[in-house]
Symmetry: C2
Subunit: 371 residues, 2 copies
């Protein structure tokens, strides 16, 4: 694993620098595409992880049927790469609905919604523009963030949507199992329970002749366990393209499957037992590891026994007391962050590393898009 990024660490003009290893990206895309084919699912990757047109194109080539975004600004950019966009977010205030209605004139736009206010607002915008927005009814399956609270409530919102045709088009059901964060056997029961709730919802809709054409599930952890949710028709994983210490420590992949790393420079070793790198929260974010919060702010490939224990905005402090090897001022080291998505969002450009070691600048096209 160290060797994957070692060449980049040696040749990069400046640090901190986020490096994406293209062969690992391609392997990660193939792995999930094969998995999805085996389970007869559609794949609609979430572009929030890479925020890059180029990566979106690679996902489309690898068999994605559409793309997922969180922000309307992301939808506007990704519409150049794909004609079928899902906004996996209640984008329901007028600032967002009007832009979405416009965009629905260019490509298929679907939005996940959980409120009457939300569908009404989208319908108004679509009516004014003369377009049609597809709606997925957001059903809470246990994460307790968004989503209507029962199959019956999903049916009621679906009925409201179906009455707002042709401004809206009822396209199906949306769920996000964000509370499933492990491949362990005890989570299988939870995934099967979610499947039963979905089946109940689909059944209720069918009884009233409503279409549940799309049943859209999410997250990288659940994507790798798709066989346990047979009611879903598509999945929306994001992180799988790059992976990070969250997916590694949760057991969904190995360090060798991580395609993104941040090359840093050691800028101080003055405090005994410590080294300071030039990456703090403005590069690595303050995100702790989802599975092992006490594991620090990332994995240092060259010093696996060391721990990234404290971050300031621009400093990362490495505790070397458990490391048999010591570093020195000026050395470049490679950090795998806990959560790659917000780290990518801090960069205007990242470095794409080709199989032959060549480095190419890659724009983060939708970085920092707010609405």
């Amino acid at each position: 694993m160290v060797t994957t990024f070692a060449a980049a660490a040696g040749t990069l003009p400046a640090t901190p620098a986020l490096v994406i290893d293209l062969p690992t990206v391609e392997r990660n895309l193939r792995r999930l595409a094969d998995d999805v084919r085996r389970h007869h699912l559609s794949l609609r990757p979430h572009t929030k992880t890479h925020k890059s047109r180029r990566m979106a194109r690679l996902q489309m080539v690898a068999g994605a049927s559409g793309l997922t975004v969180a922000k309307v600004g992301e939808a506007e950019v990704m519409a150049d790469e794909c004609s079928d966009i899902l906004v996996a977010y209640p984008a329901i205030d007028p600032a967002r609905t009007q832009r979405l209605a416009q965009l629905a004139g260019r490509c298929i736009i679907r939005v996940a919604v959980d409120s009457v206010e939300g569908v009404t607002s989208l319908a108004t915008a679509a009516r004014q523009t003369g377009t049609t927005i597809g709606i997925l009814v957001d059903l809470d399956v246990g994460f307790r963030r968004t989503g209507v609270q029962s199959p019956q409530a999903a049916l009621e919102l679906a009925q409201i949507v179906s009455k707002l045709e042709p401004a809206l088009r009822l396209d199906g059901i949306f769920f996000y199992p964000g509370h499933v964060w492990s491949p362990a056997a005890e989570q299988h029961e939870e995934l099967r329970r979610i499947d039963a709730v979905l089946a109940e919802t689909i059944d209720l809709w069918k009884q009233l002749g409503l279409s549940t054409g799309i049943v859209s599930g999410g997250s990288t952890p659940s994507a790798y366990q798709s066989d346990l949710i047979s009611s879903q028709t598509e999945i929306r994983p994001g992180t799988y393209i790059y992976n990070d210490m969250n997916t590694v420590r949760a057991g969904f992949c190995n360090l060798e499957d991580v395609a993104a790393a941040i090359v840093c420079t050691v800028v101080s070793t003055a405090v005994p037992g410590k080294a300071v790198i030039d990456a703090g929260t403005k590069t690595l974010t303050s995100d702790r590891n989802a599975r092992v919060p006490e594991s620090g702010y990332g994995c240092i490939l060259e010093y696996p026994e060391a721990s990234l224990t404290r971050l300031s905005e621009e400093h990362g402090e490495i505790d070397l007391s458990n490391s048999p090897n010591k570093t020195h001022v000026g050395e470049r080291v490679t950090v795998i962050p806990n959560h790659i998505c917000p780290c990518v969002n801090l960069q205007d450009r990242v470095w794409l590393q080709h199989a032959n070691g060549d480095l190419e600048s890659l724009n983060v096209d939708t970085r920092g898009m707010l609405s």
Copy 2:
């Protein structure tokens, strides 16, 4: 306090939006400028908080003697506003030293350094460019992040610097009391201990005829307690211009002194007892409160009894179970973040609110600068 941002919340075209209240900024600048004058100190504000030329200009007008930056890219931008820049960071790798040496041909550049490798690297770059870089010897006074470990070690590094003239110029001592995070009486003793360490260092240098012209201290918390460190000649506070829930909960200011807030829209109330706003870690960051970590990810002005308990990348979950008032989908609410500096760094532009309520777009000129 709610009223300060209420007008902006009603008129902003889209959310999430970071609003800076100019009258509060001006009051905060005056307060510290008065304080600094009273203690006969120089003020060198850290621009990492606002990352804005315009705000830097306001600080210069309010009596700052120079500016502080962390990144060389920030120094290059701020050099247009001020001819005396301190890089409060061991910017010692070749990618940084060469740019700094160039910049030293345009204005006074000083760098805080704690290693022989660091001063050698800066001297090499300055020699190649034919310029002079000022050096402050970074002394660890207890935060244990960077800095040489004793007055004697500071003297030894100072002697090395003085031998590298004229490429380098020994300008004094740098320290960062980042572990002092309270105005409480028990911290006064620590500030006095720091002062004694500084006095010992100054004395050692004097004995060998070395100049400690500048003794540069840092942080907003210690800035408000400058009278306890009489050895320092200048301070480098950053947050004081905007303030945030860190400075409020630590007791350094009141909510009325907070000049920066993030206006958000409620996008879901489907889960009972909760509301979801359109600001997650990609807007508010994952920074917990430095003094009260369990207080959530910010203060919601309209719902002071509510708590921002969980963030995803684009969702903020508000627990309303303790709030007598409930919100509704579409309502705009105002969040004071825990730590304003990394939030500003996520925005290309913020909104500047004038005394008459007018909103003006303000560029975050050095946002996302990495090296």
